[in-house]
């Protein structure tokens, strides 16, 4: 009962924030809505028994990445975006096609995961820090290291691209 209540509360908040993210015209409101989505997703992870992923979701996504978003928006002092006139195609079939897409995704999810269950990635179950650490450094060591090398390359690339010689 309580679990259902918590689930619905945070599911509604996260969907509401996601919709708000699309609707809002000011970038900072969009960023805050995205933080709301991340935060409520973390609670849903927690309900699935993935406590480590929930904490990391808040630390990395809601904390680090979104802080950078907000920082950039503040630094550029971005204004609310201007709304241009919409084409007839968007006005006519925009909403129906969105509804159709949502229906399709919903049916797909129902087919793939008929009953609620705990977090599962392939044959890996559980979500405590120990479980995840163990599988990251044993079974998934190569993908883990490759990903981290990839991120490092991306960082170095960003620095090289952004760096200008100052004479």
């Amino acid at each position: 009962m309580t679990e259902m209540l918590i689930f619905w509360a945070f599911a509604i908040v996260s969907v509401g924030c996601a919709v708000n993210l699309v609707i809002q015209r000011h970038p900072i409101n969009g960023a805050i809505s995205l933080i709301g989505v991340m935060g409520s997703l973390a609670v849903l992870y927690l309900q699935l028994g993935a406590e480590f992923i929930a904490a990391v979701q808040v630390i990395v996504y809601a904390g680090a990445i979104m802080v950078l978003f907000v920082f950039v928006i503040m630094l550029l002092n971005a204004e609310a975006e201007q709304r241009t006139g919409r084409s007839a195609v968007v006005r006519l079939i925009g909403f129906p096609s969105l509804a159709a897409l949502l229906l399709l995704v919903g049916m797909l999810i129902r087919r793939l995961a008929p009953a609620p269950e705990s977090v599962r990635f392939g044959d890996f179950m559980g979500g405590t820090a120990e479980n995840i650490g163990r599988s990251l450094f044993t079974g998934y060591l190569l993908p883990f290291e490759v990903t981290s090398a990839l991120i490092l390359v991306a960082i170095i690339g960003a620095i090289v691209l952004a760096h200008k010689e100052i004479d």
Partner: protein
């Protein structure tokens, strides 16, 4: 149902204790800084200025609550409350004491012991940037915006060495639960030296302790890292446009964050609520002895008063101290009060260091601040964690 009632009672108790501590921490800070600078500090409201926090609260409550006309109203109101809510949230997981049994009910002194307590604290501290950043942005004022920008850059940068400094003692303790973290630090080397992570073999965490403290100064925006509110450059930084209760919220948040950082350092490195030396060797008597001695000093100065009002106030303080001293030996209260005393003693000592530093050190320049964390703290924290990992792997944790 019992669980709900018990938790509500504990939550109410802790709320009262923490809010009172917050109010009086400010009084203590003003007194400490005043004495460092050879002043008296608050001394008008009540004996020794003891009612000053109350007067401050009334003053802040009754001031006019201004909102700048061009501000983003919703975020302007939201930011201070977000700050203070996030600052008070960590109290829920801090382990103030062990499990105790009162009238047949077994319960922990702390509110709740999460399996991911350490990550919870890190998550809260990474979210607390938003309060300050949004406050700076929504005020629509250049000083506030600059303060908010500085705060977010600074807090994001210092979170890295802080997280690395937190990770090193975790390698020794091998748990993320704060209560278990304390329990893994019990025991003594050679009967005297506590096995806190600060001293723990094979990798004493002295360096990560210092890194953690330095990062904590930056995370709480305190001198020498209080660039977001540098008054000679930015008026008051991110809270320039705030007044009344919203201004007070930022103040409360800053002090609550200070308490959390110090308590976190206590739990990670200084053995939490465990005593300085074994209970068999009389550490249980230390609080009583301390308060008896404090009472004796107060009584002596009350009998030989330097100022006329000391004749009345200091003996009252002495009697209060002596009563407290006996409370520490009262049968039911002893098991609660003694761990809490040690927790408060260690956290309080760290808080005193925060105030001491504020009274003595000048402010960094902004480029120095950033260079310090990226070019010095971060590599050192990284090396320290690698060294700890190596030592733990070779000699066993």
């Amino acid at each position: 149902m019992d669980f709900v009632i018990l938790t509500l009672v504990k939550a109410a108790l802790w709320a009262v204790i923490i809010l009172t501590t917050l109010a009086y921490l400010q009084w203590v800070e003003r007194k400490v800084i005043a004495h460092i600078q050879l002043r008296l500090g608050p001394s008008r409201v009540g004996p020794h200025g003891l009612l000053q926090p109350l007067a401050d609260v009334i003053k802040l409550l009754t001031k006019e609550d201004l909102t700048p006309p061009q501000a983003n109203k919703l975020l302007f109101v939201f930011a201070p409350f977000f700050s203070v809510a996030l600052a008070l949230l960590p109290v829920a997981v801090l382990p103030f004491g062990p499990e105790v049994e009162i009238f047949g009910i077994r319960t922990a002194i702390q509110l709740t012991d999460l399996d991911i307590g350490v990550l919870f604290l890190l998550a809260i501290s990474s979210l607390s940037v938003y309060g300050i950043a949004l406050a700076g942005w929504s005020s629509n004022s250049k000083y506030a915006l600059l303060g908010g920008l500085r705060a977010s850059a600074q807090m994001v940068s210092y979170e890295l060495p802080m997280a690395l400094a937190v990770a090193s003692p975790l390698l020794l303790s091998n748990t993320l639960s704060l209560q278990e973290l304390v329990l893994t630090q019990s025991g003594y080397y050679a009967g005297w030296i506590p096995q806190w992570n600060f001293f723990k073999l094979p990798a004493p965490q002295v360096i990560s302790y210092l890194i953690f403290l330095m990062a904590a100064f930056a995370e709480t925006n305190r001198i020498p890292f209080d660039l977001p509110e540098a008054e000679n450059e930015l008026v008051a930084g991110f809270h320039t446009e705030y007044s009344s209760l919203k201004f007070a919220s930022f103040f409360m948040a800053e002090y609550a964050n200070m308490i959390t950082s110090c308590a976190f350092a206590t739990v990670l490195f200084l053995g939490g609520y465990l005593p300085l030396w074994p209970a068999e060797k009389g550490s249980d008597l230390f609080p009583t002895a301390l308060f008896l001695a404090g009472g004796a000093v107060a009584m002596y100065h009350g009998l030989h008063p330097a100022r006329p009002r000391d004749r009345r106030t200091l003996p009252a303080v002495a009697v209060a101290f002596w009563l407290l001293a006996f409370l520490f030996q009262a049968p039911l209260l002893k098991q609660i009060l003694i761990p809490m005393f040690w927790f408060g003693f260690k956290t309080g000592s760290l808080l005193f260091v925060f105030m001491w530093v504020r009274g003595t050190l000048p402010r960094f320049r902004y480029d120095q601040l950033m260079a310090f964390t990226w070019k010095f703290l971060f590599p050192v924290a990284m090396l320290n964690m690698l060294a700890t990992g190596l030592l733990v792997a070779v000699y066993g944790g």
